[in-house]
């Protein structure tokens, strides 16, 4: 992608590699290829590489590599970049118990969309979501894009405690909270899939480029999977 990227100085030993300006599902194959190419180009001189929706932040070892050398390596790696194939990502089916007790914003989203709670659930489960980026918490994957009608802005006042497994919507993005944390997303339901345990081992279940399909399950199935039915408001 010769010439189609910008390299910006971000800190003493950090570059921001900017590939795109806006969020788009079409960015993913390029970002994934860039991540692979940059890891290869830097090897042991890389301290951290943080991909996001449109950028990759590259923190290199400034005691082993000169600034100019680092920039050259980035340019060389990206000049001959080809987009990654679609075979890269995995597809996950995530079972979710959609219920007002664990998903208090179901009715808010339904009201805004002028439809029923059942229809909100159907639409949330009706498409594959791309994992755009990991961030906010270990294993927290930002996914999208949700049906335009379901797009709902964040809560005006974030909750202090959102339980692990909570599935939420913010604008056209959707995500699962891997562990109990504060949060302002609109919560629709809960999954028993142990995202945090995967992340803690350094093997997050969801990775950028993966696709996720939510599947609605009844309460007893959720319980059988080890789900915690404590209502969101009572969660401690």
């Amino acid at each position: 992608m010769k010439g189609r990227f910008r390299i910006e100085l971000t800190a003493m030993d950090v570059f921001m590699v900017r590939l795109f300006d806006t969020i788009d599902e079409g960015n993913m194959p390029w970002l994934l290829a860039a991540e692979r190419g940059l890891r290869e180009a830097f090897g042991g001189d890389l301290i951290d590489l943080v991909p996001s929706y449109t950028t990759l932040m590259l923190h290199y070892d400034c005691l082993r590599l000169e600034h100019g050398q680092a920039r050259e390596r980035i340019e060389r790696a990206l000049d001959r970049l080809e987009p990654a194939g679609t075979e890269l990502g995995e597809r996950h089916e995530i079972p979710v118990w959609y219920d007002p007790s664990v998903g208090p914003e179901l009715s808010r989203i339904a009201e805004r969309a002028g439809t029923t709670v059942g229809e909100v659930v159907r639409q949330h489960c009706a498409r594959d979501y791309h994992v755009f980026a990991l961030g906010f918490a270990p294993g927290y994957g930002f996914m999208g894009l949700v049906e335009e009608a379901l797009a709902t802005p964040r809560l005006t006042t974030p909750r202090r405690r959102v339980p692990a497994g909570s599935v939420g919507i913010a604008d056209r993005q959707t995500a699962i909270y891997p562990l109990l944390s504060p949060g302002g997303w609109n919560i629709l339901g809960r999954t028993a899939v142990p995202l945090f345990e995967h992340a803690r081992r350094g093997e997050p279940l969801l990775r950028p480029g993966d696709r996720v399909r939510f599947v609605s399950i009844p309460r007893d199935e959720f319980v059988r999977q080890g789900g915690d039915t404590t209502s969101l408001e009572e969660a401690r």
Binding site: E8, L9, T10, A11, M12, D13, V14, M16, D21, T22, I23, E35, L46, I47, D48, L49, V50, P51, S52, Y53, T54, T55, L56, M57, H59, C62, L63, H67, A133, L134, G135, F136, A137, P138, G139, Y140, G141, F142, L179, S181, F196, A199, R200, G202, P204
Partner: protein, 314 residues
């Protein structure tokens, strides 16, 4: 041979203070998983504490914030070292000078009272605190429930025990060269301007680098808020992107937040740039109310200063 004969030594927490966490040099190579860097907020003082005992410089030590009555009892004869903030530490009632190694006998109590200078003290033990690594680091991150002495990121509580297997025969004092990397003094924080700096208005940039900034009490290992003139940026919210250590981000209220070791991995506010690693360590020692100044510096000069700081440990 040495390992076979190594004795386990330990400290028991008699009383917990406001916040004490086991920290090392940080958790690297995992930020793409959404896992924060973590590690000692004042990484320079962590290194000095370890240097005093002849440890590997990034070994796990205790980061003690404020003090506030934290009481530790030695369960064996040992050697310990303190660097960073002066928190009026006492050993069995005798004041301990900050910045040195000292011998402790089994049963003696170490108490940390209140900050006299700085905010965070580092207590090193021979060979480093012996706990398993989580994702390549022993650092505790409470928000992520990772690492630390309990493995779940939680701070020290009464009854907890810290143990280690190393030994230190010498008691070192800080060398005169340590002054060059002292994070307890000065009000200037060097900042490398970033690519978004051109989006701030001219008057805002003038104020950013000339006005005094007060460290707010909304300050923790994640970020430190600075209070002063309002800064204006044409960029509203951006697409979230990676955040480096020391990033000075400016949310719509115009009051900067400096992002520290436990910062979120990605975020979407425009940034003036990033403090140098040394300036971030300096800020980690500032108490709420303290006044600091931002000083623009070139990347090359920042690197030169950084290398000089690292060389002082030789």
């Amino acid at each position: 041979m040495k390992e076979a004969t190594a004795q386990v030594a330990s400290l028991r927490v008699v009383q917990a203070g406001p916040l004490a966490l086991v920290e090392d040099g940080g958790r690297f190579g995992v930020r793409h998983l959404g896992v924060t860097q973590s590690g000692a907020a004042d990484w320079v003082s962590l290194r000095w504490a370890n240097w005093l005992l002849g440890n590997t410089l990034n070994s796990a030590a205790l980061e003690i914030v404020i003090g506030g009555g934290l009481t530790l009892e030695a369960e064996s004869d040992t050697t310990l070292a303190l660097a960073g903030a002066d928190l009026c530490a006492e050993l069995d009632g005798e004041p301990l000078e900050p910045g040195g190694g000292f011998r402790v006998k089994a049963g003696q109590r170490l108490v940390f009272r209140q900050p006299r200078n700085g905010l965070r003290a580092y207590l090193a033990v021979p060979g480093g605190i012996d706990i398993p690594e989580v994702l390549g680091s022993r650092s505790a991150t409470p928000r992520e429930r990772l690492g630390g002495h309990a493995g779940d990121g939680r701070p020290l509580q009464a009854g907890d025990r810290l143990s280690w297997r190393g030994s230190a025969d010498t008691v070192r004092r800080l060398p005169p060269s340590a002054g060059a990397s002292d994070t307890l003094w000065g009000d200037r924080l060097a900042l490398v301007p970033g690519a978004q700096i051109g989006h701030f208005s001219g008057p805002s940039l003038y104020r950013a680098f000339n006005a005094p900034w007060r460290v707010d009490d909304r300050a923790d290992r994640m970020g430190v808020r600075l209070v002063g003139p309002t800064l204006q940026c044409q960029l509203g919210s951006m697409v979230s992107e990676g955040i480096p250590l020391g990033a000075v981000q400016v949310p719509p209220d115009g009051q900067p937040i400096v992002l520290m070791s436990d910062r979120q991995t990605i975020g979407g506010y425009p940034r003036l740039g990033a403090l140098t690693p040394f300036a971030a360590a300096r800020l980690a020692q500032c108490l709420p109310g303290q006044v600091v100044r931002l000083e623009a510096t070139s990347r090359a000069h920042a690197l030169e200063t950084h290398r000089r700081c690292l060389a002082s440990f030789c």
